[in-house]
Each structure stands twice: as C-alpha cells, then as structure tokens.
Amino acid sequence: MQIVTYKVPAGKLLRLKAEVENGKLSFVQLSGDFFLSPPEKLQLLEVGLLGQEIANTDALREALHVIVTQNNIVLYGITVEAIVDAIAQLQQGTSSAMVSS
C-alpha cells in the first residue's frame, strides 16, 4: 500500500491510499478533512479510478471530471486536479510523500 499525503493549495488535506499493479490502480481510498457533497458519492470517485493507469494523467483527469459532472458532486477544499496530483506521487514510487504547493 502506498500512502500520499497531499495538502491541497489553499485547501484541505487529501490522503490517498492506493495499490498499483502493472501501472494501474487496483485499490484506492481517498480520505481527509475536505468537504464533498453528496457524501456517499466519494465512493464513486474511488471506484472510478480503479483500473486507471497512474501514468496517464489526462485519462485520470477526464475520468474524474466525468464522475463529478454526471453525479453533481460538489468538491470543496479539494479538486480533481489535487487528486490527479496525488496519484502522480504514486508514479514516483514513493511509499509516503507530501506535496505542499
């Protein structure tokens, strides 16, 4: 399991716990002190990331935007870009990383 702790610039804290197999996400958990409405839709983001290639940031961004738009998800203190940035930390092979800007 890799853990990325990401302080969203001018936002809240995002903690990404993930497992990567053959360059693809096989487990994703997003947690932190951010706000998301409706709350139960967080799971849709996590499920939607499964199987995505962590190196393909465009595809990750697109997948997240589609889920957010189609489900009327409101993010506050966290952004799609922040989630993509956190996943990019996985790409670097770090077991724990923090990005502060």
Binding site: T5, Y6, K7, P9, A10, G11, K12, L13, R15, K17, Q29, L30, S31, G32, D33, F34, F35, L36, S37, P38, P39, L42, V74, Y76, G77, M98, S100, S101
Partner: protein, 249 residues
Amino acid sequence: MSFRFIPLETHSAAMNMALDEACMEAVRDGLVAPTLRIYRWNPSAITIGNFQCIADEVDSAAVSADGIAVVRRQTGGGAVFHDTEGEVTYSIIAPEQLFSKNIAESYREICACILRALAALGIAAEFRPINDLVVEGRKISGNAQTRRGGVLLQHGTILFTVDPAVMFRYLTPDKSKLADKPFIKSVQAAVTSVCEQREITREELEKALTNAFHSAFPGVQGHWTEAELMRAAALLRTKYASDAWNKMR
C-alpha cells in the same frame, strides 16, 4: 422565515450528531421551522470528519485508555476534541435557499454571527477560508457544513478554554496541515481560546452567541418534537454509536 431556537443543551457526542440529523430530516419534511441550537458535550469526546480515516486522526491507544468516544460526523472537515468544559457548539439547520448557493459565501454568512459574538466580547477574530475563525492566525472556531435534501447543516465549535496537551493527546493531525501557515510552528500553537483572549465566563460567551444568531436569524425559543427525539434515539443506536458508521474509513 422564523427560526426555532433550542437553548443550551448537553448531550453525548453520538446524541448531538443524531439530533442534528433528525432535525435535518424534520426541516426537509417541513415538520419544524429552521433551527438553531447551542450545545455542549458530556462526556468529552472526539468527532472526525465524514471523509477522515479514524486510524489516521486519532491515537487509538489514548482514547481507549481514557474511554473517549470517537464519532464520525455527517459533515466534512477535521477531527475535533470536544472538551465538556472547553467549548460551546452551535448548529444551524435550514433550507439551503436561505443561504448563498456558493459554499464559501454561505460559510461567511453564518460565521459572521460568531465573529459578531466574539467582537461583542472584545475579541477581534477573522474568517480564514475555508472554514475557520482565527485570532492573529490561531484558530478559535472550526465550522463544518453539509447539504442534503435541500437542507443546509452547519455546525461549529467556539473554543472557550483549550489545553493543547490534552487535545493533542488524542488527536494526531498531519503536520502538513501547517504547510501553508509558516508562522505557526506547531499544531499545538495553532489554536487559541476565548479565555486566552479575554477574561469572560462561558455563560457570557453563550449569551453573546445567542444574541448574535438571534439578530441574524430571528425566531422564537422552541424545543424538539417527540418525533425528532425518537428519530434521534434511533440514529444514535443505529448510526452514531455504531462501529459500522464510526469506523467506516
């Protein structure tokens, strides 16, 4: 629209959260007026944000040793230690069209009441986006909001007294939370309290808060309905006192 104001009550953490949710449902169904409540927590407890991982935020050995309950909120935001003697909490539960659709603006609208209450007590605080009130950069109030079924719930705490040594015996915030606050050297130094700023009583703080909310959201004193209390008791049992909810993440 006239608000129902429920004066100071003290409950367990699970019951406080259950009452908020029961009230949200009643407001959604048009059974009660928009509601303001002020309350305290007994016994002292921790709440964590809806999207937080309990293991990441709380020292499980310390809370187990001291029998401190940890309850997941329906709102986002961070983990909070609610000291029975150390804070006053409010909830405002109302149709969301009474507030700005913009989340940041609605935080500002509601937090303005707390700022006025603190100003009346001689404390110059300011709103620090996203959801905090600070005095010279140190947090004195944290607030959290959710919207569901057309109803807005915002609750928040005002620190009356604070002992960082006790608070951070239980909470384990990530140091990266200070990444954009370079002037704050530690999480312990990141908080202040009403008592640290001014010598006043908790009753004075409660009165100032009540007055500030009343002037912004006029209404009359009221009480819970029997249906709300029954629903809250059910939510307490099935949700806020359950591991399935509290340890969901």
